[in-house]
């Protein structure tokens, strides 16, 4: 069953055709890779899916319903969580607080509950705390709970971003270059984490430049070049596709 269904997405910025008739589907429980040279439109596609951009035409269906025109926070509440290419943590909040923000989508305490410190607010607050700790445990940074987010190492910041995204309880987790800047060990750990997230029932959309990671991890891979999808298949076939090789290495087709 298709969880996410993109149909003929076009996105134009002035004269630039950033996305050109891109269609793809991601099934439930799938790890779906998205690769392409710099400027191919990967992040633009991400922003269309998560509601940051409105596509010029086309439709985005999630769980059988069109989510076109929804605001980013509404998309997050429907069940798509994301991380950012340039890490966007709440720098001056603690690690735990960052994850607690992630629970916002699935909690409801309002200002009056806070002011009068009602019973339901207190129990929800306890729940938020314990759940957030669990997520830190899950991604393996629970020893850093009380540090400010900006003081974490680069790899741990990436993990924290994933924990924060998971705290929104998504059905689809969209990761924008999660391995960027990681060393080999960190990348291996990340691979295990991503596999575990999938096993726990969350589908994954992965943008990545680390070809090895993509080949090892993804069920299917799509390749974007100049805003167009030029290939989509299982990783071993995609890497042999002449159009893909041409897009990455340049030159004419044989």
């Amino acid at each position: 069953m298709a969880l996410l269904n993109l149909r003929e997405i076009n996105k134009k910025f002035g004269g630039i055709h950033a996305l050109n008739n891109v269609s793809l589907t991601i099934g439930a429980g799938e790890i779906y890779g998205l690769i392409g040279p710099n400027g191919a439109g990967k992040t633009t596609l991400f922003n269309v899916i998560t509601g940051v951009y409105l596509p010029s035409s086309g439709d985005v269906e999630f769980n059988g319903r069109s989510i076109i025109g929804r605001k980013p926070y509404q998309v997050a509440m429907t069940g798509i969580a994301r991380t950012f290419q340039n890490i966007r943590l709440f720098q001056n909040m603690t690690v735990l607080e960052n994850v607690m923000i992630g629970t916002h989508a699935k909690t409801s305490a309002g200002p009056f509950g806070a002011i009068f410190n009602t019973k339901s607010t207190r129990s929800e607050e306890r729940l938020i705390r314990s759940q957030s700790r669990d997520w830190l445990d899950y991604v393996g940074i629970s020893s850093q709970t009380d540090y400010l987010a900006k003081n974490l190492s680069y790899g741990d910041q990436r993990r924290l971003e994933i924990a924060r995204a998971l705290a929104t309880r998504p059905k689809l987790l969209a990761l924008d270059e999660p391995a960027a800047g990681m060393n080999a060990t960190e990348t291996d750990e990340l691979k295990l984490l991503i596999q575990r997230i999938r096993t726990d029932g969350v589908s994954i959309l992965l943008i990545e430049h680390d070809v090895k990671l993509i080949m090892n991890l993804c069920d299917r891979v799509a390749v974007l070049d100049y805003g167009q999808k030029i290939a989509e298949d299982i990783p071993s076939l995609v890497r042999q596709d002449p159009k893909v090789i041409q897009a990455y290495l340049g030159g004419d087709l044989p």
């Binding site: 969580a81 950012f84 699935k106 806070a114």
Partner: protein
């Protein structure tokens, strides 16, 4: 030095009995303070204290908008004006209405909140400097409206203002008059002091609870990174509007109390300088830190009064004449104090730990 103080505070706060004793002592000190003042330096000082408490409430309200949510509001005094005029119109001979305070207080708070949303809604897309300019305009618009709403239909009495505003009365007892209770005579300013103190404590509790709530965290997240906050499912529009509305509510309540204490309101009490003064209290005390803001508000409302009452006599005694007008001296010292604080303690006199950490880091990075 800071380390020693921190250890001391930790030692006291970790000991429950010491903490309790501290609270009791503070409570007693606050309770006898007005009597101490009126018996030593005069009853005027209790009145000054009353106004300081009102300013503290006002500054705490602005702190929600500026400190918590990070939305620079230069027209905050408008909500104070709205609250004051709501009270004035509903409890004065202006329209012949004399509603009791427990009816006006919620109405004033509600009207101010409404104005908060009215200002907030069109400015949601603006950030930083642009927001500051629009709010500045809003503040002036309200003042100019109040100044000119005496024709064609006389609503606000224009620049003359509204006089003879009802004081708060409980069970028919007018709180601005002197009352005997347990053999002690409480004058109006004393009773107001206790009333305002109770309300201020309530305000502090509300602010602290809001800061540490789900909503408070959302404000912080918006201040840190709005796009990331949206991606976490935070409806940034509503959360920002909530900050405007709550901040305005505090301002409105403070304004109503001001009107009832003063017995008179006119547009000139709500100028741009007042807005800036309240913002200074927030910034000087420690933006985003409830107790810091409280300190800033008390200092900036009491110190100028001390200066006002001492500047002329000291000059008389030392030079035999008054060379510098106390009012001019006040602005001079005020400017100087601002510069010194910004140089020495950029995060404010008593900053929030988070903000101090943030600024420390930024200095280190340069």
């Amino acid at each position: 030095m800071r380390l020693i103080a921190q250890r001391l505070v930790k030692k006291i706060t970790s000991n429950k009995r010491a903490l309790l004793l501290g609270y009791v002592l503070l409570f007693v000190a606050l309770a006898v303070l007005p009597f101490l003042l009126s018996n030593t330096v005069g009853r005027t000082w209790v009145r000054i204290l009353d106004f300081a408490l009102i300013y503290a409430m006002l500054a705490l309200g602005l702190n929600i908008v500026v400190g918590f949510a990070g939305l620079l509001d230069l027209g905050y005094i408008a909500f104070y004006a709205v609250g004051a005029y709501t009270w004035a119109l509903l409890a004065s001979p202006q329209f012949g209405l004399h509603l009791p305070f427990w009816v006006i207080l919620p109405i004033g708070a509600g009207v101010a909140a409404l104005f908060g949303v009215l200002l907030g809604a069109p400015t949601l897309r603006l950030r930083g400097d642009y927001l500051a300019i629009v709010t500045l305009g809003f503040g002036e618009i309200i003042r100019i409206f109040l100044n000119n709403l005496d024709h064609p239909v006389n609503v606000t009495n224009g620049p003359i203002g509204i006089n003879k505003i009802d004081p708060i009365s409980i069970g028919g007892a007018d709180l601005t008059r002197t009352h005997e209770w347990l053999g002690i005579s409480f004058s109006g300013v004393h009773i107001y002091y206790y009333l305002l103190l109770a309300l201020l404590i309530f305000t502090i509790v509300m602010c602290v609870r809001l800061e540490n709530s789900r909503i408070g965290r959302a404000w912080l997240a918006i201040r840190e990174d709005e796009l990331a906050a949206q991606a976490m499912g935070i409806n940034t529009r509503n959360i920002k509007l909530l900050a405007f509305a709550l901040g305005a509510t505090f301002g409105g309540v403070a304004g109503g109390l001001f009107a009832s204490l003063q017995g008179f309101v006119s547009p000139e009490s709500f100028g741009l300088l007042e807005s800036i003064m309240v913002l200074c209290m927030v910034v000087l005390g420690g933006m985003g830190h409830v107790y810091g803001v409280l300190l800033g508000a008390l200092l900036l409302s009491v110190l100028p009064e001390i200066l006002r009452s001492t500047a002329s006599p000291i000059q008389q005694a030392v030079f035999g004449d008054v060379y510098i007008d106390p009012e001019a001296l006040r602005m001079l010292l005020f400017g100087l104090a601002l510069i010194v604080v910004m140089l020495v303690r950029p995060a404010g006199l008593w900053p929030a730990p988070r903000r101090r950490a943030m600024l420390d880091q930024d200095v280190g990075r340069d």
